[in-house]
Symmetry: C2
Subunit: 638 residues, 2 copies
């Protein structure tokens, strides 16, 4: 029982012909254009458009061109063949057509309402990636790179606040967006839109969770370039990185939340199962990711072969992702914590050459992947074929995102300030509120599933919010910094002077800076320094001195023979390589509590040094800027 | 008219589940294992197993495990659905099964005789890559890297010989293998094997062309490590790189050779069309590749942003590949010449930071891709499901490959020695004969098409030849070097002393070294130095001085403003960066002919320096070795 009609003929496939060549060329062309534009902008010090914004813009233009220059293929499309006897679709289908057997591979399920719009334009169809490419190829390097560049004293000093914003804040944001959207959906149903759609509260929560993933890459780039306060940078960066992980797992947990009866009623069992899922997946991915950041490199002398070392590093990080995926956990979260752990432990065991190689490699992969995603977003506005623009829903989403961000930042900052010694000032809070851009993660989460009409509407809306926030908020970062009077061009050295000055003036409570979440930080730091670092790296005191006496046999075993024998030598060489680690280590172990200013200064200096390392090669440029603009400002502060 | 049977059920696909995770993990695991083994071997100075050989070995073991540990799926496989009314297979198929529409994508055509063996084991099926992955993803970085590391004086000095071996030699090899195999095929038909097969002379030539691609990566790695004579290295490396390009285009030309009548008769028109195809595709790909190695970086100041520069460099190189593919040419050849040209021109315009970044990036990609391919080869011996082992054919192929290599190297060396001032000594010829390993390219060409039975037999045979040559010849390189008394550990400085000594002794004709293909080299070099370099890079004399007077306006335009203005400064900085370029330049332009020893010494030194740059980080190791083993030998020669 088949309706047979002539369809697209199979291309006489050339053995050597690369199918996607033209489409990939389009992307290459867009990226080259983006690079050249960004170079121009950087050279002229325009800061209103970041490379990701540029990539998006070019993608948009290219999408427009492709959409209106290619004509729809005139072959009748959407012919559905019926197979009533088949109970389920096979993963591979062999079909005999005119005495030749063709193999077909299962791609996906299609909703009936999408069948007609299907394949209306072959070129648009070709320019559409498989959504899983985002999660499996493009996001991992971005997320890993974020984790890998987290190695900053300031991050650990603000750990408590960052965790609060990332976990509690994302949950608040998700619920607030969900509630507001539910209100809008009810209103839309009331005025007669959404006829025949199924749109439950869980769908609204799903939208809330995917819209809660912030991605202030544009803002952070400008912060980096302008040397904005390191604490603000750490708060924002830390929040955005962890918040991605939380939002991804949250979205997943909500998508598998299935109350047994009416999906609109609250089912306590299903709810707690979802919470359990969330915790389980998060913890599992965390464990999987960290465990891969192995101390393998400690016991070997791979350092002599930087290429092998880099290869091993790359493969282990990728394995973390794949293992988590294979185990049914979230690869992205695993790769994030793998990155964090690698940066904290494995990095110390690498040879100087490999340190640079890995940094540059991941930086490069991050750069490419990020620009490809933003390019694709621009393209998707015109090439995606099932957009549903609903003005009311879009308006509602903008309101919801704005309100949710406010409900996240201000109340949490107020609560945190009760506990923090170094308060988060008002202007920092406004800046954080302003920096709630949405980007790659929200997009990737939204495009995962665009089968049903609500999901298509969500995708369209998410795309528009990304466009708006990246261009408007991203572009407005520099004016906003000026308007909020946030200090820029804070030079590590100058900062110290300023701090010393402020200490005497005592008009800022900067001198009580230090560890805000001091207790959390100190407990973790002590444990890390005494046990984890010696076990996992070549740094720190030998385990035989830190562990109790009766553990000596174990300690000797764990302290690798080479580290054991070369203890003295190691201390010397490590001191050169891990200067920051050791100074801190010895300071904290030798005289706790350290005089406030001393500690701040050393952490401040090393924190900035860390940031400098992740430099996109703006070295010279920065120097010019500092000479051109920074000096007078700093002088006025000193 | 359909035979409907229950088939593999479609997995309840988890939205976030990564399909290929387990399979990729297997590869990651194998690569990690390979890296660790190689590290062990390098540390203990075992040279009998190269990393590619190790990867192949582990792949083999893993293939064995997968093959015999996973049981064949018990679902009845090979069910073919008949669709008599469909005239051709659509590229996408929509099928309605139990009121749900599934989308299927066209994968490939299957020969009837393969239908039954199809899908007998889901795991084996999964471990099988799409053959196009080799040509589109894995080979380009390897080939580009080869081209990019070709920037060696010794290569250009031996250009004539290398081109002879690569073009004439590959053609000879192809024809000799084709003829011998045709004899064997005739014999097999005679004794009753190959019943019902179509096996024409063109098929034998096809096999000949794919088996003509040599890949002495193992040998070259050992040469590099042991500092074998730079001329021998250049001859072998140059031959293998260009020979890949020739073999790929040759294979393609033969595969589209279609005489109008009986495929066994010689059709002059079709033959000349094939030759035309070969020349056209080769020249087109060459032009496409070189034109992409743009002078774009000359007119910009991208140097200030190494990340953007590296990105641009990468994207342009990839675009060369994609453009060639999109234009119906051979991407691999384009990317090879893109690499050569980039190394020669664009490289000079890069900032020191980018030079290192690009080198390391491509080195890393090459390393990964190479090991993945060799790993896959190992796997393929057990996981590929349509092997046809025919002892007679395999024996014939071994004989043919051996004879063809001999017919390539010895006669051509004899002819070349008639023209060369510096003869290719006997032991070098034997070493080249010995180094005719087959590897990645032969494998990739063979796996492209495994539909018909002759092609499957060829694939199996090619695989076995690769195994044999890589393990046996690759492992025997060091003994062979000793046996042939080829000097190793030639230190640039020591080499000069030895040469000076030999000059007085005059028992070797090394002192007449210099440019062997002097006339070719000198014409090209003069043109390159006077016109191409100034146009494409910042080095060389200003165009205004080299071009005739009436060209001045054009010359001024082409000499970029910045290069024009900074002429003096540029000369200074370039002298530091491109020391080798300029010394040579000034020498050759100032006093031609140069005293023989002077020239040799400078080229020798820079040639070795170039080789050192591509170092896999063996620096320390090499030094130890030199002290341990090299010194006595060199002393005995001095």
């Amino acid at each position: 029982m088949e309706k047979l009609k002539k369809y697209l003929p199979v291309k006489d496939e050339d053995q050597f012909y690369h199918e996607g060549a033209v489409e990939l060329l389009v992307f290459n062309f867009l990226l080259i254009l983006t690079i050249l534009t960004i170079w121009l902008f950087k050279n002229h010090r325009f800061r209103f458009l970041h490379e990701t914004g540029g990539a998006m813009l070019y993608g948009l233009v290219m999408g427009l061109i492709i959409r209106y220059s290619t004509k729809a293929s005139d072959v009748e499309s959407g012919t559905v063949y019926e197979c009533e006897k088949l109970k389920s679709g096979p993963s591979t289908l062999l079909i005999n057509i005119t005495n030749q057997v063709y193999e077909y591979q299962y791609k996906r399920e299609i909703s009936h309402h999408n069948v007609n719009g299907h394949h209306s334009n072959a070129m648009l169809q070709k320019m559409t990636f498989d959504p899983s490419i985002f999660f499996n190829i493009l996001l991992p390097p971005i997320i890993f790179h974020a984790g890998y560049s987290l190695k900053k004293r300031h991050f650990f000093r603000n750990l408590g606040s960052i965790l609060t914003y990332a976990f509690l804040g994302t949950a608040i944001s998700c619920i607030v967006i969900g509630l507001i959207m539910y209100g809008f959906v009810k209103a839309m149903v009331h005025i007669g839109q959404l006829k025949g759609w199924e749109f439950h509260f869980t769908d609204c929560l799903f939208f809330g969770s995917l819209m809660s993933a912030t991605d202030p890459v544009t803002v952070l780039a400008i912060f980096h370039e302008l040397h904005v306060d390191a604490d603000l940078y750490a708060l924002l960066f830390g929040e955005s990185v962890l918040n991605d992980a939380v939002a991804i797992v949250l979205t997943y947990s909500i998508s598998i939340y299935s109350p047994k009866e009416n999906p609109n009623t609250f089912d306590a069992a299903a709810f707690f199962q979802s919470v359990g899922n969330f915790l389980g997946i998060f913890a599992g991915s965390f464990a999987m990711g960290s465990s891969y950041a192995v101390h393998l490199t400690k016991f070997t002398k791979l350092c002599e072969f930087p290429m092998l070392e880099t290869g091993l590093f790359f493969l282990l990080s990728w394995s973390a992702f794949l293992s988590a995926e294979a185990a049914g956990l979230t690869g992205i979260v695993a790769v994030l914590f793998c990155g964090v752990t690698q940066a904290h432990y494995t990095y110390n065991n690498l040879s100087p050459d490999s340190k640079m190689r890995t940094k540059q490699l991941f930086e490069f992969m991050n750069f490419l992947a990020e620009n490809v995603i933003f390019c694709y977003m621009g393209l998707a506005l015109f090439t995606f074929q099932n957009h549903i623009f609903n003005p009311l829903f879009i308006f509602g989403a903008f309101v919801a995102v704005f309100v949710a961000r406010a409900c996240n930042i201000y109340p949490l900052s107020f609560l945190l300030n009760l506990g923090r010694k170094q308060k988060i000032p008002r202007n920092f809070q406004h800046m954080m509120m302003f920096s709630g851009l949405r980007g790659a993660i929200a997009f990737a989460l939204a495009i995962q599933d665009t089968e049903t009409q609500p999901k298509q509407m969500m995708f369209t809306t998410a795309l528009l919010i990304v466009f708006f926030t990246v261009w408007v908020f991203g572009g407005g970062t520099t004016p906003m910094l000026t308007w909020l009077q946030i200090r820029v061009f804070i030079d590590p050295d100058e900062d110290l002077k300023a701090e010393a000055a402020s200490q005497s003036a005592s008009n800022l409570d900067k001198n009580t800076t230090k560890a805000e979440s001091a207790w959390l930080f100190r407990i973790w730091y002590g444990f890390d320094h005494k046990y984890l670092k010696p076990i996992l790296t070549h740094t720190g005191p030998p385990l035989t001195t830190t562990l109790p006496e009766w553990c000596n046999p174990v300690a000797r075993f764990l302290t690798s023979p080479s580290a054991h024998g070369d203890q003295l030598k190691n201390n010397d060489t490590d001191y050169i390589i891990n200067n920051d680690e050791l100074t801190e280590n010895y300071e904290s172990s030798a005289h706790i509590p350290v005089p406030a200013q001393d500690r701040t200064s050393s952490t401040q200096a090393t924190g900035m040094a860390d940031i400098h390392e992740g430099d996109l090669g703006l070295g010279r440029y920065k120097l010019q800027l500092e000479h051109a603009a920074g000096q007078p400002e700093l002088n006025s502060l000193a």
